[in-house]
Symmetry: C2
Subunit: 247 residues, 2 copies
């Protein structure tokens, strides 16, 4: 029995930013699995386009359609949980039969990644390995071409889904900010940044390191324009900077 | 004139975690540059051991020796600033003569990286490109084998050099924590975690993804044992978790 599950972090989107080890595993894979919305190609699958060997078996783990169920309802949780349970069983059966399955995940799998729902169910049952990747936010701040933190800067990573008062509190106390899950929460994120006095420093980066990449000052954006794959970034202020004082 | 400066993020330490693009650039380089302490091999240079082509020219940018000057003194800043100015001039001259120089930097260059001191001086003068890498903290939480954040968790990245009261305040308000620049600040970091009620959840990861890698609960560590290449991590608590509620 040599089966195992290897989750590879794919990084921010540019396939050239995948790690050497993940690249080798993906190109040599006989079975790959990835999450996607029903009817879509999926972001992870798109990143590895052209890298998969001929004849590879693809397991598309399609999220259940939930358009009519609120995201925070018990029914939504039950539906998602059954979905993860089903794939847990399917992957376990395959790995126990000796298959090596490469799971493809955008960014870094342990940083807000969906893979954790399979990881928690499988890690003590079958061999599971996780390879780190460059998180999406790192790709986005690279696109902006300036250091996001230096000196003693505090960086806080926030979800746009947090309550507005909590967003404001964190925005006031950190030096640098990365705000994810923006999309339809973007108007609230913008109000919170304005209240915290940081709106003028905020950038929106959409599809960072990918085709169609776009960046603009958040203050210049229309409220109606709420891209999904977007991260809001505020650069640090370099607390106790070392060389710039004297530069 | 085809010269340019390319700073490659090397990731957390394991050379297999370097990006495909950085790996290609490093193996094909004719000139490489890296920071190091005088008399040491240096962490960046160690990561690429065995990857450099025969005959490559190595530029070791050795930090000035500062053992007798306090880190926060104007004299220290002046010394460091002169050091960066000197290398700015040296690299500029080479690039203007047509050289392509690959600068090797651990982790991600824009995330608390020393390269920023050259970047700020050179970016408008010669062609400068920066490739992102997996930050050291991402390699460290991968070593611990569990998701660091999920749901609506807030992650705060803190420097161990911050005042204790400020550390406590941030440790209380974030869900997940990554604390860098530990070393001789470790006793203060530990006191702050205890005051914030998070010490029992804290891990110390030393040389994550590198030979000699070590991890242990911070509460079990001796105060005298203050490793330099170490990061303290506290996992998030999964605010509004999606599937685990029902699992």
């Amino acid at each position: 029995m040599t089966g195992r599950l290897i989750c590879t972090g794919l990084g921010p989107g540019d396939p050239d930013l995948i790690s050497v080890r993940a690249d080798r595993l993906i190109r040599g894979a006989r079975h790959v699995a990835y999450f996607r919305k029903a009817g879509r190609q999926g972001q992870a699958r798109r990143i590895v386009e052209g890298m998969l060997a001929p004849g590879v078996e693809e397991l598309a783990m399609e999220y259940p359609v939930t358009t009519e169920i609120p995201f925070d309802s018990p029914a939504y949780n039950a539906l998602l949980s059954a979905f993860y349970d089903r794939w847990t069983q399917a992957l376990r059966t395959r790995v126990e039969a000796g298959q090596e399955i490469i799971v493809l995940c955008e960014g870094d799998p342990f940083f807000y990644g969906s893979f954790m729902h399979l990881h928690v169910r499988l890690k003590d049952v079958i061999p599971v390995e996780v390879l780190p990747g460059i998180p999406g936010m790192v790709g986005c701040w690279n696109v902006l071409g300036a250091p996001v933190t230096w000196g003693d800067d505090v960086l806080s990573v926030l979800m746009g889904t947090l309550p507005e008062a909590e967003l404001i509190r964190h925005m006031r106390s950190a030096d640098a900010l990365a705000i994810m899950k923006t999309g339809r929460n973007l108007p609230r994120v913008r109000r919170a940044l304005a209240a915290a006095g940081r709106l003028q420093d905020a950038w929106l980066v959409e599809r960072g390191t990918m085709p169609g990449e776009r960046m603009l000052p958040l203050s210049e954006m229309e409220d109606a324009d709420c891209p999904y794959f977007a991260i809001v970034l505020v650069h640090g202020r370099g607390r106790r900077p070392v060389a710039e004082d004297a530069a």
